[in-house]
Amino acid sequence: MKEDRISSRQFMPVIASGLFSPMMRALPRMGAENAGKAMYLAPLLSVLPVFIYIRLLCWLLEECPPDKGLAEVFISCFGKTLGRALALAFFVWTAFYASYIIRNCAERLISTIYPQSGPWGFAAAVTAVCALAAMGRLQTLARAAGIFFGLIFIMLALVLLSALTMIKAENVLPISCLDIAPLFKGVLLTANVAGTALSALFLRGSVTLNEKRRGKPLLKWLSLLMLLVSFTLFVTIGCYGAKMTAREQQPFFLVSRDVRVLGLFDRIEAAVMTTWVITDFMMVTLLFLVCAEVLRVCFVRKERKWFVPPVAAAALAGSALTAKNAFELWHVTEFIVQKANPAVYYALLPLLLAAVKIKNKKSKKRY
């Protein structure tokens, strides 16, 4: 069977289009709540810190063989038992996060364009499609991601450009030194949300790095993503002000509901919200791949695709158990996801990778 590897340049659209999902879910509302009207600058300001952080993690992994994912690195470095335990801990969090995104996707559709429906059909449909994609080749997903990112970009551009006339200057200006502290909170929030992408390190073994241009694709895609998110926040907050944006569950839905595209089409929120399903699809597929890869390594198998169905089934069941209604979902977001995500990706992960680096240097051992 042909080896299923992709280059880092091909992998970036997968991550970028997937990251739209948590960013558009969390940043408009929480960002407006925490950072006020200056929130639209936060994603741009977070490019450099996030880029440096990711490069730091890559540096910590430098001495590990490039065809090994993070799970294999843990096992090699910490031994079979502890290594597996650590990998499975990440697996648990990743599977939980996948089920959370599925639940969120369903809830978003119900609260915006399918008010008479229950969430489980949507959750099942999204899970099935993601499972199908995750069982296929990584190359297929990477190619599809290129198309999907373009589609998301076009949809965003249409909506945001059409909404420019609705922006009021007093909603986004002035920005002064009084906004520095709230902006800092906004940057932290952005970095927190973006940290989800670090789970892709578990697929490190399937991604070929271009030695000459290591950080360039990452910086390019990160900048593009944050620019788009910034523009989205600028328009959303510019149209409705920070207070109103913070009150809404789906602020961007509001913009797409009120905008008139090309002077012809009103109320395109149905098209916009369903296009947003693509971002959830990319993120959930990525997380399914990560989970399947961890299980493959832990159970020592050749192919990861056979682990995808049980992971998908677990995620679907998890989405039902995570939150039975929108209120429970809100609690999960505020008290679990927002707190656990930074703990996992900004505390636990760098500590473990630092330990890997130290161990490599001490033993000067090659795997």
Binding site: S111, S117, G118, G121, F122, A124, S176, Y240, M244, D258
Partner: protein, 387 residues
């Protein structure tokens, strides 16, 4: 192949049941919809009465529905019993609020709007002065027109004639959230039915309703409404009739206007604010012996215009201050100029606004007349020598 078939089967099942049993209600055939385009809400704090009207559709009659309940949502749901079609609110263009309902509580309306996904934030809102929304919605407009069309005509005329800017539900909600006050265009129902004759029929502009703390605080008169439009920057055009000071009159067309607010800080505190009104006009019609090419005569006209506009602007400002809130958004404009120093008064801005010393300055110029150098005169062959 098996894997693909299984996945497709699961997907198909999921898609078919994606609404579950209730989900079938998401599917509606288009011809089964009753499109509500005008919504009226009245209430006295205990009961809410909702009235709704469709638009004119070919030769079909306009459908008008009415229902009362404890809440707006309850009243709307109850309306369904009066028609076999599915009542559809996503095309509501205008929302009317009765005066009594506005005096009671506006926040419950906004709560409903925020939670209801079908009604757009871009829907226009009016308060019916000296009447109920039901009066407006159920007005007998005859066979050739409907309430929706009349309201559309009203919005346009108000905008072009400088009577009032029609705010949307979203703008109103945002203003109330940000500053606990809002402006809402007001209208009056003129005539009680088609028997009154075409000229008496329909709606007329009635200035602005000033909403503070979720309740109607005051209405503006027509002149104050003009002033509010000028102060809020929505004045696109206006026709002002002024006296030339010699018994004649002129009709001036306002072609451009701009109001800026300049803060003056003393010892780091906001001491006073300057309201600079800049207006440009042109002469539409002259019933006067003024020489338009004489600077003195032109400045006389400009002074007359200034008197009128000053009365409007200062009257509007006085109304807002007496109502106790910054309805015109002056605070935002002052904050733009110096956000750091303004932050000291931002918290209690409405109180500060009501007592802040203001200075008004006017820069008014008449820039042109059109096409003719001198007016037509009666008597053939006579010419009039101008000095």
């Amino acid at each position: 192949m098996k894997k693909v078939s299984l996945a497709l089967l699961l997907l198909a099942a999921a898609l078919l049941f994606s609404g579950c049993r209730q989900g079938r209600d998401n599917y509606r055939d288009i011809e089964r919809l009753e499109l509500i385009q005008t919504l009226g809400i009245d209430g006295d704090g205990e009961t809410v009465t909702v009235s709704a009207a469709t638009g004119k559709r070919g030769d079909s009659a306009v459908i008008v529905l009415k229902n009362s309940a404890r809440t707006i949502a309850g009243a709307l749901d109850g309306m369904q019993t009066f028609t076999e079609k599915d009542i559809y609110f996503s095309h509501v263009a205008v929302c009317l609020l009765g005066q009594k309902a506005a005096e009671t509580d506006l926040y419950y309306l906004l709560d409903f709007i925020e939670r209801e996904v079908s009604v757009r934030y871009g829907t226009y809102i009016y308060i019916v002065r000296n009447g109920t929304a039901e009066d407006a919605v159920t007005l007998d407009t005859g066979e050739n027109t409907c309430v929706t069309d009349l309201l559309a005509a009203l919005e346009k005329s108000m905008r072009l004639l400088g009577d009032a800017h029609t705010y949307t539900l979203g703008e109103t909600a945002q203003a109330m959230l940000e500053n606990d006050c809002a402006l809402v265009a007001a209208l009056e129902v003129s005539g009680t039915g088609v028997e009154e004759g075409a000229n008496e029929l329909g709606f007329s502009p009635a200035g602005y309703a000033l909403i503070k703390g979720g309740r109607l605080a005051a209405f503006s008169d027509r002149e104050q409404a003009h002033g509010i439009m000028l102060l809020t920057g929505y004045l696109q055009s206006d026709t002002v009739e002024v006296s030339d000071g010699r018994g004649g009159a002129a009709s001036l067309q306002v072609t451009g206007s701009r109001v800026s607010f300049v803060p003056h800080y003393e010892d780091g505190r906001l001491g006073r604010a300057e309201v600079k009104v800049k207006l440009r006009a042109s002469i539409d019609e002259l019933h006067s012996e003024l020489d338009v090419y004489s600077p003195e005569d032109i400045s006389r006209l400009a002074e007359s215009l200034q008197e009128v506009e000053a009365e409007r602007v200062e009257g509007a400002m006085a109304l807002c201050r007496s109502a106790g809130a910054d309805f015109i958004g002056m605070g935002k404009k002052l904050e733009m100029r110096d956000p750091v120093r303004f932050s000291a008064v931002k918290e209690n801005w409405n109180e500060t606004f009501s007592s802040l010393p203001l200075e008004f300055s006017y820069d008014i110029a008449i820039e042109r007349t059109y096409n003719i150098t001198s007016p037509l005169e009666s008597g053939a062959g006579e010419t009039h020598e101008r000095g």
